[in-house]
């Protein structure tokens, strides 16, 4: 069997050129992967709140029109208020009796903020009387892991991840706002939905909501309310699974996706140009070599085969090096940024690795254009010397 042209000879003898290409491929791999790790942690972290939280609790802030109670129909405010309160109480009772709903209560909420690498996400923290808190924790599968249960007005339990995220510790004031130091953290809890809960302080809240203790079969609060005869209008706010997810897609998903796609395209275009220019340059420098091979009896197919194997070696090394440094970089990002900030993320994202591999395969495909062009320029040495 006749021997092939070795693809390793070039690699062994041109370490600098090979190193430039391999480094470019590896760094581009790392850039695409690291950016993905940093940004996707935002999506993943917020997903805990967006997906898990509404499986347990939904919120509804309904105006009087939703109950069919109009102010103009009553002479005095007291009359109107009495009917409105009665309707609201009736709705709460109906909700409590609905299958799959453990409880419902009309209570105040404050907002909590989950800060990620890119942007932040705000969600509700219900405020209730201390005696109701154990029931709430039981419903949301939350456990007190440190500190004590709230007993006094203005005491709150904060999820351990959110505490890490906000660099809080037990005893700290939570959410200093225009009212000053208003809520004190007395304990930390652990739950899948990153729940927090507290006792009202009497003056600081973000509104009154009907807090519904639903389960996974009753996450469509809007549907349930409509079935109960509630006429939802623009001024009404219902935060159920669908609404959370809609807001998440709009405020987080679409933004992150578009940033990821844009960065991916920029890196790819930069890489494609770099690799094309470098590759064309190093092939052009080797035309005489290819001509020698053709002269001493190697066919174009054999020369092309060697070019492909050389390309495969370069991309193989570039990809392997890229994968290694990417995972290393992801580990560092995870250990020094994601984990300490109480964010959720991973080191290995298979889909992104496959996406980059696919892109590199595509790049190898694009490189066939200059390779085939160079192949057409190969002559035997007699043509060079003529």
């Amino acid at each position: 069997m006749k021997s092939k042209l070795s693809a390793w000879t070039y690699v062994k003898n041109n370490k600098r050129t090979v190193a430039v290409l391999v480094t470019a491929l590896a760094l581009s791999f790392m850039a695409m992967y690291a950016v993905y790790v940093l940004l996707i942690t935002t999506t993943e972290s917020f997903e805990a709140v967006i997906v898990e939280m509404p499986k347990k609790v939904s919120y509804a802030d309904l105006g009087n029109q939703a109950y069919g109670v109009l102010r103009d129909d009553y002479e005095t405010y007291e009359e109107f208020k009495a009917v409105y309160d009665a309707k609201q109480e009736e709705l709460i009772e109906n909700l409590r009796e609905h299958a799959g709903i453990d409880d419902a209560l009309n209570t105040q909420v404050i907002r909590n903020t989950y800060q990620s690498v890119m942007g932040s996400y705000s969600f509700e923290v219900p405020l209730m009387e201390p005696e109701r808190i154990p029931g709430f924790l039981e419903h949301v599968d939350a456990k007190l892991i440190d500190g004590a249960m709230p007993k006094e007005a203005g005491e709150v339990l904060i999820d351990e991840t959110i505490m890490k995220n906000g660099s809080y510790k037990i005893g700290d004031w939570f959410q200093k706002d225009w009212f000053g130091e208003t809520f004190r953290i007395v304990g930390s809890i652990r739950s899948k939905g990153l729940f927090s809960v507290g006792v009202p302080n009497g003056f600081s809240n973000n509104g009154w909501y009907i807090v519904v203790y639903n389960d996974e079969t009753t996450t469509d609060l809007i549907g349930i309310l409509r079935d109960m005869g509630i006429q939802l209008g623009d001024e009404d706010e219902v935060l159920d699974a669908k609404e959370y997810y809609k807001a998440y897609r709009k405020d987080v998903g679409e933004v992150i996706d578009s940033v990821l796609v844009t960065l991916f395209v920029i890196v790819m275009v930069f890489l494609a140009i770099l690799v094309l220019v470098t590759y064309v340059s190093f092939m052009r420098n080797r035309v005489r070599e290819y001509c020698l091979y053709a002269s001493i009896g190697y066919g174009r197919g054999e020369i092309y085969d060697m070019m492909l194997r050389e390309m495969a070696i370069l991309f193989g090394f570039g990809t392997a090096a890229g994968l290694l440094i990417s995972l290393g970089m992801a580990w560092v990002i995870h250990g020094f940024i994601i984990e300490p900030k109480g964010l959720i993320g991973h080191v290995v994202y298979g889909e992104q690795i496959f996406r980059i591999l696919g892109t590199y395969l595509f790049l190898m495909g694009v490189l066939q254009i200059p390779v085939l062009f160079i192949l057409q320029r190969i002559r035997t040495i007699d043509a060079i010397e003529d």
Binding site: M1, K2, S3, L5, S6, T9, Y10, N13, N14, R288, E289, C291, L292, Y293, A294, S295, I296, G297, Y298, G299, T380, I381, D382, E385
Partner: protein
């Protein structure tokens, strides 16, 4: 070994003034021996060598090599012949710049095993290349050393014919003499065709073909 009939090579076929590199002559070459093809620049000696070695196809005429008509065979057969049965020494050595002398020699080898490696080492020794030069790249070798590597590359498959185009053009007198001595030795068993315009290197030639203006003059 070669039977050439009425070989004709015309350049610029599509123009009004045609250039005849070879003007239609017959030639017969033996199976072994050192054959010199001599003539001034433009006499057609290199064209003749390239036609015989399948690198060029003559416009007219026939070249029969060991009973095979070379003018009508396909590319794959031409490549196979060049690879298996012919060896080439070009005017410029055409060594691959990034390869060592050894790699440059082995690049033409049909097999790349320990036996071939030993053979290359033996050629290098015979050609006067010291062991430390085997692993040097062409830029670190003198012109004579590069040409000797090219000779070793041409001989690595024990070809039936070696085509040498001005093999001593870039060498001093001593190196030129040594190269011709090696080729003479090889020609005891095989055919070596040397194209040159320097008659002095053909002192030991078994036959000299003189060319002039695309024809054999002697």
């Amino acid at each position: 070994m070669f039977e050439v009939k009425n070989i004709c090579m015309i350049y610029d076929m599509n123009t009004d003034v045609k250039t005849y590199a070879l003007k239609g002559f017959d030639l017969s070459l033996p199976e072994k021996g050192l054959i010199g093809i001599i003539g001034p620049s433009g006499s057609g000696k290199s064209t003749l060598m390239y036609c015989l070695s399948t690198l060029k196809t003559p416009t007219e005429g026939s070249i029969v090599y060991n009973g095979k008509e070379l003018t009508s065979i396909g590319n794959a057969q031409r490549e196979s012949l060049r690879r298996r049965e012919f060896g080439f020494i070009f005017q410029k050595h055409y060594l691959v710049p990034y390869m060592t002398a050894m790699d440059n020699c082995l690049v033409a080898a049909m097999k790349k095993d320990a036996e071939v490696q030993k053979k290359a080492e033996s050629f290098f020794q015979d050609l006067g290349l010291s062991q430390k030069e085997w692993h040097k790249k062409p830029a670190k070798l003198s012109g004579g050393q590069c040409q000797r590597v090219a000779i070793a590359r041409a001989m690595i498959n024990n070809p039936k014919v070696i085509f040498a185009d001005e093999p001593t053009a870039s060498l001093d007198h001593e190196n030129a003499f040594n190269v011709m001595k090696i080729l003479k030795k090889y020609s005891r068993e095989r055919l070596v065709l040397v194209v040159t315009h320097d008659r002095s290197i053909l002192q030991d030639a078994d036959q000299i073909i003189e060319m002039w203006d695309g024809e054999i003059s002697k």
